[in-house]
Assembly symmetry: none
Homo-oligomer: 207 residues x 2
């Protein structure tokens, strides 16, 4: 396969061709794409070049490979792109203050989203969580982030949460009643109140 025009790399060409194949054969998420060896033959390139293209797409989360079976198209969800970018961004960005602040923003966004779209039936699990004795801060906000029903926001929250954990800034769970209040406020769709309680929970100022 010729690198089209200005000598772009073979593996990039393969990615493009693959897109055409997927389009032409109307392959959907879950479907199997041609094997590495077949692609290698069909496109007249080395198998290693095919693999470079596939590995790149895999890291993007666009395909999934299963040894012994083949390579399959994946739907956009579950991709690790955000995760990856996150770790790369965070590695040199040690501004703890930024991390914490961003997490606060995201958590408040989650609360807003949950209030905006959830009906009462969604809250059963959240309420149930509070019953457990050993429930912790992370579990509760994990559920809230989940209820935001936005996969991307969920991912971002997870990254931030992981990082905060890595910093060993543990979130104590001293005032269990505050969490109850928070959830009550969310359930009753009182955004203002919910955010106020949240800020109390995180010891934030109220500006």
């Amino acid at each position: 396969m010729q690198p089209s025009q200005n000598e772009s790399k073979v593996y990039i060409e393969i990615v493009k061709q693959l897109r055409l194949i997927i389009s032409k054969e109307a392959l959907k998420p879950g479907d199997k794409i041609p094997s590495e060896r077949e692609l290698s033959e069909r496109l007249n390139v080395g198998r290693s070049s095919v693999r470079e293209a596939l590995r790149a797409l895999e890291l993007l989360g666009l395909i999934e490979t299963r040894r012994g079976e083949g390579t399959f198209i994946r739907d956009f969800h579950g991709n690790q792109l955000v995760q990856l970018l996150g770790t790369f961004v965070l590695q040199d960005q040690k501004a703890i203050k930024d991390v914490l602040e961003t997490r606060h923003s995201i958590e408040m966004d989650c609360i807003r989203l949950v209030i905006k779209r959830c009906n009462d039936s969604h809250f059963t699990k959240l309420r149930a969580l509070l019953q457990f004795q050993r429930v912790n801060d992370e579990q509760i906000f994990y559920e809230i982030a989940l209820l935001s029903d936005n996969h991307l926001v969920m991912r971002i929250w997870q990254i931030l949460n992981d990082y905060v954990k890595a910093l060993e800034i543990k979130q104590e769970m001293k005032n269990k009643s505050l969490y109850t209040e928070l959830i009550d406020a969310i359930v009753s769709r009182n955004e203002k109140s919910a955010l106020l309680i949240y800020k109390t929970l995180r010891n934030l100022s109220f500006d």
Copy 2:
């Protein structure tokens, strides 16, 4: 190099190791990373595996390779990535919705942060922007994100913005006056008003 624990793939391990190397040697964007052959030796893996890792990172826009010279860390604004996601991901409606919604949340977070911490002197550039005839939506929000003074939030906004651009959902700039109002509201620290204007700008509902 052993795939850590549950037999994850070698190239993934290489990505992780590479991250460590970058961190340990304090490499910055523009710096050169070890050559493929050296990495192959240092990590006890085949060069082809190293290449799989590097190609993936390249497609993500995290590194840049120059034949005959070497591989360099990039200030990650991957154009490749943008293109690719645009063509591959367009199918998934929920993902698109999530991207847009997340961007909205982050942009509103930016507005809140800016209001919280900026003094008037910070706004000169923002005001100046509006003077230009051909100023566009992206430039304005870039400035706002910058003024948030939170590097992490800024990065996240950039990623999301790239996503949106990749989706070819262009942000028109029809009501220039609205942007003026927005900035005025921010400058006068009127959060409620600013967010309201923002929602108008983005055609969001007002719940």
